[in-house]
């Protein structure tokens, strides 16, 4: 088990990306401290201090860790007051996180055929770090990223560093038109699918994987109170009963889930 840390972080960059996504780059306030190791698929819990309506921390996936520069990246979508307050953070503001939390994606021993990393909307977030980890193992991941429209596409240049990038947009304004599950990439031999995104998308991907006997892991986003397995609020019904998404997940093999697909 990786030790969980409560860390004070400083904002070193906060960029509005397309539409309502922003990329928050953080470093430890104590610059002599290096970011502890975290695995792909893990997340952090952020305390949002300046939003009166935000009482609990907010769980956000690790988008990327740049260990050389001691940077933690978070890709965030503006949803409600909490994420809006985070979007307004300025360089040198500080915030408190719990890091890292949750389990991680299961990495294959060896690459045999395609490893497809399917992200939809802000669900592309954990795929970047996962892609990097796979890349560093010598694998070539295929990113299959779905967005509403070309104006939503984010972090393209970053994804390209670690694998092949395939895009779908719902309106066809970039890449293939339609949903990720319609993409031509899925006709090729696939060893494993990793996916994160809106639940209907993940269910469609899981269904596809199941039908084609492809190993598949999904990253769930059940609402959380604590984020580290003590409140039992975030449970998902699995083949083993209720388990905590925050500590037994957020990554689940679809075989363990009871989704009706």
């Amino acid at each position: 088990m990786i030790k969980k840390n409560v860390l004070d972080m400083i904002v070193i960059d906060n960029q509005e990306l397309s539409n309502n996504y922003f990329l928050l780059k953080l470093a430890p306030v104590d610059s002599s401290q290096s970011l502890p190791y975290a695995e792909a698929g893990q997340f952090v819990e952020i305390r949002v201090d300046k939003s009166p309506t935000t009482f609990l921390r907010r769980p956000i996936s690790i988008n990327f860790i740049d260990f050389d520069n001691n940077e933690l990246w978070l890709l965030i979508q503006k949803i409600g007051d909490g994420t809006k307050a985070l979007s307004q953070l300025k360089i040198s503001d500080t915030l408190n996180i719990i890091y890292p939390l949750g389990n991680s994606f299961g990495l294959p021993e060896a690459q045999k055929s395609k490893l497809v990393l399917v992200g939809g909307g802000v669900g592309v977030a954990p795929m970047l770090y996962l892609g990097k980890v796979l890349f560093e193992k010598g694998y070539t991941p295929d990113f299959l990223l779905g967005f509403r429209s070309s104006s939503d596409i984010v972090l393209m240049d970053e994804f390209k560093k670690y694998g092949n990038v395939h895009i779908t947009t719902e309106d066809g304004s970039f890449g293939e038109k339609g949903y990720v599950t319609n993409h031509s990439l899925l006709n090729e031999p696939i060893q494993k699918i990793f996916t994160c995104g809106p639940k209907p998308m993940m269910m469609a991907v899981a269904k596809y994987a199941k039908e084609n006997s492809i190993e598949c892991e999904v990253s769930l986003e059940n609402t959380m109170a604590c984020g580290f397995g003590v409140c039992l609020c975030c449970v998902e019904k699995t083949t083993e009963g209720h388990v905590c998404v925050c500590s037994d997940g957020p990554i689940f093999n679809i075989e363990k889930l009871t989704w009706q697909i």
Binding site: K4, V6, R47, F55, L56, F228, G229, L232, V235
Partner: protein, 303 residues
């Protein structure tokens, strides 16, 4: 450095800071964050005779300065606790207290008997106030007679320190506290959660699978503080105060209102290190106020 020791009947605590059941897991989950031995004690999660799956997801809704939960006592049952958790608890010097729940008196008694056999568990907290289960739970805690019955039955089989946890969803909490006292409780802890509800206006649906759930967190503090004060004045046994304690100042307010010890619940989710900060904060306060012992401020509200 003041003397922080307090006593809840036979139970001797190094300091008055405990954790609230259901918000602290089995304790060891916090070992990455804090030194568990710095706490007076910790309440382990609601334990029942048999394994319980709890309520369906969603079980949580954030509310202004608080949250609703509808966990519904999910736990693997008392035998699981004894086999798998008790050995871990025993490694800490800090006192583990088991929160015992049930849906009928026999279950409470049977569960308690098993816990009574555990050497290192010196106290139980009888949860007669859970708003999230269909049978039992809060029903026991909202009427003096049924509270008395369940406490008396458990008292018979439990010689160690018996704490009874009260529901705030009542017209007069002191009436229930007195019933618990009369039935032999060594202490009462209050408050459990307030029954609340959350709705998603856009979908027109309740947010919780169970429609209603239990409100906790900062929002409830004024109500909890009032109930602790009222109860402190109306029973002789020590009162344990909780509900919305987010920092040392809040904890001190409960001590002044008459709590001999306090529990920290929801605040653990926001700051998993809050418990030790509260221990330190109480210490600093006592030094600043020139008190030698925390007992000097318990019930020390100046009217």
């Amino acid at each position: 450095m003041a003397d922080l020791r307090v006593e809840i009947n036979k139970l001797k605590l190094d300091n008055p800071v405990l954790t609230a059941s259901g918000t602290f897991g089995y304790g060891h989950e916090f070992s990455d964050y804090i030194d568990l031995n710095r706490l007076g004690g910790y309440l382990v999660k609601g334990t029942t005779l048999h394994h319980r799956e709890g309520n369906p997801y969603p079980r949580m809704a954030e509310t202004p300065s608080g949250m609703l939960n509808a966990v519904g006592l999910q736990n693997k049952g008392v035998d699981y606790f004894i086999e798998n958790i008790y050995p871990i608890c025993s490694q800490y010097s800090s006192k583990a207290i088991v929160n015992v729940s049930g849906s009928c008196i026999d279950d409470y008694v049977a569960c308690t008997e098993k816990i009574a056999a555990l050497d290192k568990i010196e106290a139980i907290e009888l949860n007669i106030s859970c708003p999230n289960v269909k049978q039992g739970g809060m029903a026991f805690g909202t009427c003096p007679k049924s509270a008395e019955d369940v406490v008396a039955a458990v008292r018979k089989v439990y010689p160690k320190t018996l704490i009874v946890k009260l529901s705030p969803n009542v017209t007069d909490i002191t009436e229930i506290a007195r019933a618990a006292e009369a039935a032999g409780a060594d202490s009462v802890s209050l408050i459990n959660t307030l029954l609340g509800m959350a709705v998603n206006a856009e979908t027109r649906k309740p947010i919780l699978s169970t429609v209603t759930g239990g409100l906790s967190g900062a929002a409830v503090k004024p109500i909890a503080l009032r109930m602790v004060w009222q109860t402190y004045k109306s029973v002789k046994i020590p009162v344990i105060g909780l509900g919305g304690i987010m920092n040392a100042t809040d904890a001190i307010e409960f001590l002044l209102a008459g709590a001999t010890a306090i529990q920290i619940g929801t605040a653990n989710f926001i700051d998993p290190q809050i418990t030790v900060k509260v221990v330190d904060g109480i210490n600093e306060y006592l030094d600043r106020q020139g008190c030698k012992s925390v007992n000097e401020i318990i019930g020390g509200l100046i009217l």
